[in-house]
């Protein structure tokens, strides 16, 4: 099988995010980049599928800056065979990223049997790319999958929906699948794996090579800002039994109307 995995490089979850000077994006100079955590599940699933299907290859794709290629190297150190990097800014929208990924797959000269992505990237949290890519490639897709079984060219996947219920899909390959936490336990890149990854091929393409221009963007962000500071909490005195009922009713009301957690 020809398996493709799409990965994104995102700021480490511990990173303190700050808007940049003119509010056009975040400050990226001191950020530590990691592979998007949901993409680790996609890489792991690709490697499991490869192991179960002799002769398979895993190609890992990324659209983003070339300065730091952490995510691709990690994927290859985990066991992916080769990588394709489309050199682009780090703040493309889902549409141009998906279009670039499609362009890169087309350029690879291989027909994709399985495309795996993380369900969302933890930077822009859009949850779009897998489904957009599938639609552009005229393929079916299932997102937020927590279970995977394969029998020949049929895969059965579990998709997680609200409240933890599961939808079971049966679909023939080729298909685009977007992985969620719970589908597997991603392996660590082993040290011999890191050494081997040095010699694995990484092809570099430009946006023009994959037929994408920045004018293709559909979504434009501006005015990055920090969320408002959490105001000091409210304290109510309900030591007096007579006051208790009123106080509780007020707090429960606030939980709904102000805190919006009910």
């Amino acid at each position: 099988m020809n398996i493709f995995v799409c990965v994104k490089q995102v700021p480490d979850t511990e990173t303190k995010v700050q808007p940049n000077g003119d509010g056009t994006f975040i400050e990226t100079s001191s950020i530590k980049w990691i592979m998007n955590p949901y993409d680790e599940f996609a890489v792991e699933q690709a490697l499991l599928v490869k192991a179960a299907n002799a002769g398979s290859t895993v190609t890992v794709l990324r659209v983003g800056g070339v300065k730091d290629t952490e995510a691709l190297r990690t994927a290859m150190a985990m066991g992916a065979d080769d990588a394709i990097l489309v050199d682009a800014e780090d703040n493309l929208d889902s549409y141009t990223i998906a279009k670039s990924l499609k362009g890169a797959i087309d350029k690879s000269g291989k027909s994709a049997d399985l495309i795996l992505c993380g369900k969302q990237a933890i930077d822009d949290d859009c949850l779009q790319v897998p489904q957009v890519l599938a639609t552009m490639m005229e393929l079916p897709s299932v997102s937020v999958i927590v279970g995977f079984e394969q029998a020949g060219d049929t895969v059965t996947v579990k998709r997680e929906i609200e409240g933890g219920a599961l939808e079971i899909y049966e679909v023939k390959t080729p298909v685009v699948l977007a992985t969620n936490k719970g589908i597997n336990t991603p392996r660590y890149a082993s040290l011999p794996g890191i050494m081997k990854a040095k010699r694995k091929p990484m092809q570099q393409l430009s946006l023009a090579d994959v037929g994408v221009s920045l004018e293709d963007r559909r979504v434009v962000y501006s005015d990055f800002s920090l969320p408002p500071e959490k105001p000091a909490g409210k304290k109510f005195d309900a030591m007096d039994d007579a006051a208790a009922a009123g106080v509780v009713a007020e707090v429960v009301g606030l939980l709904r109307t102000e805190a919006k957690v009910l």
Binding site: E70, R73, T74, A77, Y188, A189, S190, L191, P192, G193, I194, M195, K198
Partner: protein, 379 residues
């Protein structure tokens, strides 16, 4: 002059750090409390290539430099100093084979360690000979094609789990260091008795025992180098292992500083986070200085060793400085935590207990100063 690690070294550090945080840290307190040997951690670390860093690639190893190895060491020690002591013990034990062994010995003794997660112990110290290692009493006597080994070793890391023992003994105690011989002893030979696990102050998950050898018959072909060359092999081994042991102090120091910073930002006294009090700021600033200096000393010692330059002075300086710094840093971490720091509920008192051992094993801080002063005074 370039102070940056290579791309691969950065990746190695990141994956080791991730392993330390996800696999080691969560179990550190429990393994300490119940003195659980970290076998599962060692096996996983072996799978990922974190162990046996000294084995050359021609014998199935990863071909790591010492600079690679100390990069791994700092990252893993952050997870638990005691666990890393047990992980790096193989490097200490197998280095004599790398340094003094023949090609046949390396093939025979090293390769199995790359094929499954075996453990080895370095057996030098004796009940009455610690710092004065040249005076060891364990003896070998010739008997046909074999040597007969008799003697007793003390404070042997991983002894209760070891598959292979690298034993320092003497052909004649009156020859002092000129009689010392290193010999490879499979742990399952007849006549070997491992004592009970020592009940220690810190690094409790790491296994430490005495070993008694009674008429143990070891083939002559197991002698590393030649009879009487053991002392030179041991000294070269320590040049290699001291930077690695120093990373235990460094990783523990970084962990203690991280805990201190988190706590100082969280804990409020007099209406403000204690990190706003200058007394706390200065303690943390001292931690940061010592950590930077520790790392530089370790890296320089490793670089000297990798380039076949004399690393003895810097390796000893690294060992003494990192161990003493770690003791101070972990003590200050407990101080910053106050009453909470003294409680086992919080992570820093364990760091302080673990740190103490580093000033003692692999040559005490005083022995390191002896080595350094001999070098600088030209004696």
């Amino acid at each position: 002059m370039d102070f940056s690690l290579s791309t691969e070294q950065k990746e190695i550090f990141e994956v080791a750090r991730k392993f330390a945080i996800k696999e080691m840290l969560p179990k550190a307190a429990e393994f300490d409390e119940s003195a659980i040997f970290p076998r599962e951690i060692i096996d996983k670390a072996w799978e990922l290539g974190f162990t046996n860093t000294c084995i050359p690639s021609e014998y199935g190893g990863n071909g790591f430099s010492l600079l690679d190895a100390v990069t791994i060491g700092e990252a893993l020690s952050y997870g638990c100093m005691g666990m890393y002591t047990s992980i790096m013990c193989n490097d200490l034990a197998l280095s004599p084979i790398v340094i003094g062994g023949s090609a046949e010995q390396k093939e025979k003794f090293l390769r199995p360690f790359t094929e499954k997660p075996l453990l080895a112990s370095f057996c030098l110290t004796e009940p009455s000979h610690g710092s004065d290692a040249a005076g060891i009493q364990s003896r070998i006597k010739e008997d046909g094609d074999d040597y007969i080994l008799n003697g007793e070793k003390m404070w042997i890391t991983n002894a209760g789990h070891a598959d292979l023992l690298i034993v320092y003994c003497t052909i004649d105690p009156s020859l002092k260091h000129k009689g010392i011989t290193a010999i490879v002893v499979p742990a399952d030979l007849d006549g070997i008795t491992v004592g009970k696990k020592e009940n220690k102050m810190g690094q409790n998950c790491s296994d430490t025992c005495g070993i008694r050898f009674e008429n143990v018959r070891v083939p002559k072909e197991n002698v590393l180098g030649a009879v009487g060359e053991g002392w030179a092999i041991a000294m070269k081994t320590l040049d290699h292992s001291r930077p690695l042991v120093s990373t235990i102090a460094l990783g523990g120091s970084v962990r203690a500083m991280d805990c201190s910073i988190d706590y100082a930002n969280e804990r409020k006294q007099f209406g403000i986070p204690i990190s706003k009090h200058q007394s706390i700021q200065f303690m943390i600033a001292d931690m940061a200085q010592k950590i930077e200096a520790s790392r530089l000393l370790i890296q320089k010692a490793a670089w000297l060793s990798d380039n076949n330059l004399d690393s003895t002075l810097i390796a000893s300086a690294a060992k003494a400085f990192t161990a003493d710094s770690c003791m101070q840093i972990t003590t200050d971490a407990v101080q910053i935590y106050g009453g909470y720091g003294y409680s086992r509920e919080y992570p820093v008192e364990k760091l302080m207990r673990d740190a103490k051992l580093i000033q003692i094993y692999e040559g005490t801080s005083q022995i390191q100063r002896l080595v350094i002063s001999r070098k600088v005074l030209g004696k």
